[in-house]
Point group: C2
Chain length 431, copies 2
């Protein structure tokens, strides 16, 4: 990926970063890069994620999923980091295999999917490192039952990706299911480029090698200066803008196929950096659609956000037919691609003209190679930002409270958190 | 809808609102309500939206769409307020009619939809007040051509919703197309309960009367006190929290069917209140999914947001099969609905325990009546918040710059904004 931070400079925007501040920040980047390199060399928890381009074995993934590559539909059962990486890849690329992600426990929605899918032609991709994630295991138990009711042997149609031990590993062993291992030292939100994210891509026949090669090429750019490394330029600039008041980061791809990528980024950014009362809040938006929804706020609301555009420079195109209406004649000389490109440039410039900071991230096109680079680049940007904030990028302790309370409420043990739920303060205004 | 602001009180959360502050705010609410009532009585621009439950004629909508109710698929071509209300309604409710919203000009994505749909069985619902919206007209021209290429007479399959004059009105007249009028005085983002939002619902055979009745019942609650009106309780509380540092409002429905509702809310909130350097930034999230993505940030990041839960109290359910795994046995005593409910309560309590403000909005279930109430209630909340901020709730001037620049870039006239695009400040870091 290429990154252009020109519209984040203090000469353009407020908040903005001066050239001098960037130069000072670059010294911190050099130190942070040393820690990151060391962490990678030691395969330390989290930093190991940045080694995935060379650690992931695409042949092993392909061989494991091989019996199921003829499936017409693939249901991935996972949540958070066990779902979003895979969803990002398959939603970005096109395939004849229908992909469904059961990443919620809404009963009506789960039932609608299971009722609709041709189960005899559907494969299951169940993903949970611990093998005990409540939502994932509940959905898997429900899906298994649906397959059985339909007279389909789920043990013939299930791929498991999980840790070295736990209920899912036991199950895979017991039924001799094709299975892969969640890599050690890699938090879920950083695992798109491992089996966690790539099983679905393999079933859909996407090019795993190109995904990893694109990521590896991005890894090559990691150096001690933000001026030489796109990922670090992005991580350092967004960090500096947050410190200057841009507490939000709106991720705005100009491609429908990258809508899920924004969800993936939102988890990466929120869960990695949102701690110790710090962290930038990710916003998800989409060009051009959200020009008619969020642009008013981005351009004229509080000066509390940076907008990140992600733009593939090459796309397929389609011409707009001529029209006899004078007021619309200009459209007939253009294509949808021209319109998309003009709207992108216009929106970017409209923010700059209003002094609102924005960053442009460019990829050549939406394919496996470029996507691998984008995912890796954003992960590296996030790791760098975590170093600059001084937070523990790879943990998410704040989610434990609700997990314990949920378990307690369902009778899965005694937890003080569950008791606290009943003590809610109410001030109800009813219809 | 019912609203519980207990977890937004200063005794629970920081930022939070004290009882005394709420009492003082209630005097402003009384004044604002008088202005709103007056605006409604005068059918003033914008306020007229709150009269829609009695102004919209469901019979006229049903009669107009009648020739196309047998369509297997409906493509709505519109963007922003011309799309999100309709999408919210049809995505919340189930129907045998497939619905597609062409609300972007991504060439590959538009082509994929048009290639995939059975055009001889597909109806078009084109929506633009001015009849000149670039994205909508470009997509309509492209769709017309696709129908022609497929040998399908688009004039037999198109419904138009537009203003009293303009290119789309002329076209509807020329081809004698079934058409409806965008109501006067109602900005797009407030038009879900007019023909703009309800044509798609009518084609899908949803109960328009119930939608309007639910909205009318909510309208009955508008009184001069936040303690008596759920909509005002919501609008006043979120305003007060913003003033105390919660510059973001995360909308988190605990129902997959309400995911699009969050997009609708995000436009309503952003475009109405995001001006004069003011306004709360809407975040879109989804329970339980985003507990594994955004909850870490919401609970442990900066104290700069309020979380709004929307919860249907009745849902369909599905039991979770028993499992022999000890660690998961508690799931086998529960249903997916139990799990969803426990996760909702646990997440709400986990934020309260961390002193993070949150508000609970309850509806009885996701059906036409309750949805009408929710949409109307949030519109009224937004209008009240606009009064409290003192902004012009019903305009969106900041989007004009980019529209002019786009037009200029495409050769549709001379615009200084287009020239400014070329002057971009660059600081590129390339791979």
């Amino acid at each position: 990926m290429d990154v252009d931070i020109g519209n984040a400079l203090a000469s353009v925007a407020s908040p903005g970063v001066s050239r001098e501040a960037l130069d000072r920040l670059d010294e911190q980047v050099a130190d942070a890069h040393e820690r990151i390199e060391q962490g990678m060399a030691n395969a330390d928890h989290g930093y190991e994620a940045l080694n995935l381009p060379e650690r992931t074995d695409p042949d092993a993934i392909r061989a494991t999923v091989d019996p199921l590559t003829d499936a017409g539909a693939l249901v991935t059962i996972g949540i958070g980091g066990s779902s979003l990486g895979a969803a990002t890849i398959v939603d970005a690329l096109s395939s004849d295999t229908e992909t469904v992600f059961l990443d919620n426990v809404d009963p009506e929605w789960v039932t609608a999917h299971l009722d609709r899918l041709p189960l005899e032609d559907t494969a299951i991709n169940v993903v949970s490192r611990s093998g005990t994630t409540a939502e994932t295991l509940a959905n898997f138990l429900v899906a298994r039952e649906a397959f059985e009711s339909a007279g389909v042997d789920w043990t013939e149609r299930t791929i498991v990706t999980t840790g070295e031990s736990g209920p899912l590993r036991d199950l895979a062993d017991r039924h001799d299911l094709p299975s892969l291992k969640v890599p050690d030292g890699v938090p879920g939100r950083f695992s798109a480029l491992s089996a966690v994210g790539m099983v679905a891509a393999a079933v859909c026949d996407h090019d795993l090698d190109a995904l990893l090669e694109g990521a590896a090429a991005e890894a090559e750019t990691l150096t001690g200066s933000l001026y030489e490394c796109p990922a670090y330029a992005y991580g350092a600039t967004t960090y500096a803008l947050d410190a200057r008041g841009a507490g939000m980061n709106a991720m705005v791809p100009y491609a429908e196929s990258l809508e899920t990528y924004s969800e993936w980024f939102a988890q990466l950014w929120a869960e990695s950096l949102g701690k110790d009362d710090l962290g930038q809040t990710p916003l998800r938006a989409l060009g051009v659609t959200d020009q008619h929804s969020q642009l008013q706020l981005y351009r004229a609301g509080p000066r509390d956000k940076v907008v990140t555009f992600v733009r593939p420079t090459e796309t397929a195109d389609r011409s707009i037919p001529e029209t006899e209406v004078d007021d619309l004649a200009y459209l007939g000389d253009a294509s949808l691609g021209d319109l998309l490109a003009a709207e992108f440039e216009a929106t970017e410039a409209s923010l700059a003209a209003a002094g609102r900071p924005n960053v442009r991230v460019e990829i050549d096109r939406v394919d496996e190679y470029e996507l691998g680079g984008l995912l890796y680049g954003m992960e590296a940007a996030c790791v760098l930002a975590g170093e600059l904030y001084g937070v523990n990028t790879f943990e998410q302790p704040a989610v434990e409270w609700a997990k314990k309370a949920t378990r307690g409420l369902l009778g899965g043990g005694e937890f003080a958190e569950a008791d606290a739920v009943a003590e809610k303060t109410e001030l109800r205004v009813e219809q």
